[in-house]
């Protein structure tokens, strides 16, 4: 369903001075139910993407067990942050794309890179209509011995990288991922790294939750873990006795 809002030019044609033109009430001008950071790291034997399971309603922790990771094909996976309803629409779009391929029955499937490009074009087209799909997406995959990791945002910006993060993860997670990255990093090590990133995010990102899912794409295919909780530690000196603004230095 689309809201059909008359433009100024159309309104001017039918202007009736006795009638006040009132725009319809709009509910979709800003994201409502939102997911937080998604992080990903490319490994030598696959790719790891993780997301927590929270969907916030403003500052309310509204849905606490919502999966933001999906399997797209047997070698491609997708993680999404931002407006959850828009993310579900993207899932439907991808389902259509994959179903069409299946119906041709010619063994052809979309490569992770194609899925990434496709999403990039869809989100860019929507932003160009000033009606964006309000998401940040990570696409990961593993084909022909090569791992793939790419990102798309609501402006349609597309790029690939060894380490990627969205939302607050860009500020708190990316430095940790870059420090941990090696070309010979294995998927097992990669999972440990993203768990550490989510621990840090849980400590400092108010729209996050201590419950994550980790997805991998390897030679064996795509696996998405069940949600699980991270061990946390709250007796750090800085947590027990936080510095106050009256201290000499805040550093």
């Amino acid at each position: 369903m689309q809201l059909r809002i008359p433009s100024a030019a159309v309104k001017a044609q039918y202007v009736d001075p006795t009638q006040v033109v009132v725009d319809p009430v709009r509910h979709t001008t800003s994201p409502l139910v939102t997911g937080g950071s998604v992080v990903g790291i490319r490994c030598c034997d696959g790719v790891v993407i993780a997301a927590d399971t929270l969907a916030s309603y403003g500052s309310m922790a509204r849905f606490q067990n919502l999966s933001r990771l999906v399997k797209v094909t047997d070698n491609c996976l997708l993680g999404g942050g931002g407006e959850i309803s828009d993310f579900q629409e993207i899932q439907r779009l991808l389902e259509n794309l994959i179903t069409k391929d299946f119906c041709f029955n010619d063994e052809h499937t979309q490569s992770p890179r194609s899925v990434h490009q496709y999403l990039g074009r869809v989100l860019y087209a929507q932003r160009s209509r000033l009606n964006p799909l309000w998401n940040s997406l990570l696409v990961g995959g593993y084909t022909a011995g090569q791992s793939f990791l790419g990102m798309v945002d609501l402006y349609g910006t597309t790029f690939e990288s060894e380490v990627l993060a969205t939302g607050f993860g860009v500020l708190l997670g990316l430095p940790l991922l870059r420090k941990a990255y090696r070309p010979d990093l294995t998927v097992q090590e990669g999972i440990k790294v993203v768990e550490d990133v989510y621990r840090v995010l849980f400590y400092r990102d108010a729209r996050s939750i201590n419950r994550i899912q980790v997805a991998t794409a390897t030679e064996a295919g795509v696996t998405i873990s069940e949600p699980y909780s991270l061990e946390t530690k709250w007796d750090f000196k800085g947590f027990v006795n936080p510095r106050s603004p009256y201290d000499e230095s805040t550093w």
Binding site: R4, I5, F159, L171
Partner: protein, 233 residues
């Protein structure tokens, strides 16, 4: 396809999020310099966003054919879209006409492509460089809506204000204390100058850094790309 109802360009009602700002500044700097028998087109690889660097390695140039290269700074999503449009149209031309797309034609195509979007511009700042019919290096600099001029050396993007005056002074001998003769730059001298201006700009502009892709166009070797590392801070 997605949102079929928007395929009619004359439909002036539309679903919009009126408070959505469709533009983003991802920074980046591009430099192009034309010489006697070469042309250099260089573009930084950092993708900046506010005070963050989402990635350090993006491609801001498009090799249109073996004698014309386009480099673009500004919004990265628009950059990718513009490069797709221009490279596709150059390919179609070359297939249909069975002759290479010239530098002058590429400049005209780019200008028209940008101006076509005059009232919803590509937020991109382009330089176009290559060899003309005589094999001489020339470059064009454009603004976001397609105004451009043919010059010998040009810089565009976030470090334009830092780099352009240096290029004017060194290459065109502008604002020099004594009027000096404009001398010819060898390819090696020009490469050194380009590397120097990017290194210096990287010290002062937060959107310029990480690396710079330097495309060298010559008649003998076509387009050769070299990646020159810059500071990552």
């Amino acid at each position: 396809m997605y949102n079929k109802q928007h395929l009619d360009p004359h439909d002036d009602t539309s679903a919009q999020r009126p408070d959505f700002m469709p533009y983003q500044n991802n920074g980046g700097t591009v430099v192009a310099m034309g010489g006697e028998d070469y042309c250099i087109v260089a573009a930084t690889t950092r993708l900046g966003l506010g005070f963050a660097i989402p990635t350090r390695n993006v491609c801001r140039y498009a090799i249109l054919n073996d004698r014309v290269v386009l480099a673009t700074a500004g919004m990265y999503a628009d950059t990718v879209a513009l490069h797709k449009v221009v490279t596709a149209r150059v390919k179609v031309y070359q297939q249909q006409q069975e002759k290479p797309f010239g530098l002058f034609s590429a400049a005209q195509l780019l200008s028209n492509t940008l101006y076509y979007r005059r009232f919803f511009p590509y937020y991109t700042f382009n330089v176009l460089g290559g060899l003309d019919q005589d094999g001489q290096g020339f470059v064009y600099g454009f603004d976001a809506i397609g105004s451009g001029e043919k010059v010998k050396v040009v810089c565009n993007g976030t470090a334009q204000a830092l780099i352009q005056p240096i290029l004017d002074n060194q290459v065109e001998k502008k604002q020099q204390y004594e009027n000096k003769q404009i001398e010819k730059w060898s390819l090696q001298e020009a490469l050194d100058l380009v590397k120097d201006v990017f290194t210096s700009a990287g010290e002062r502009d937060i959107y310029t850094g990480d690396a710079v892709d330097i495309c060298t166009v010559t008649k003998q070797r076509g387009v050769v790309v070299e990646t020159f590392p810059l500071k990552k801070d």
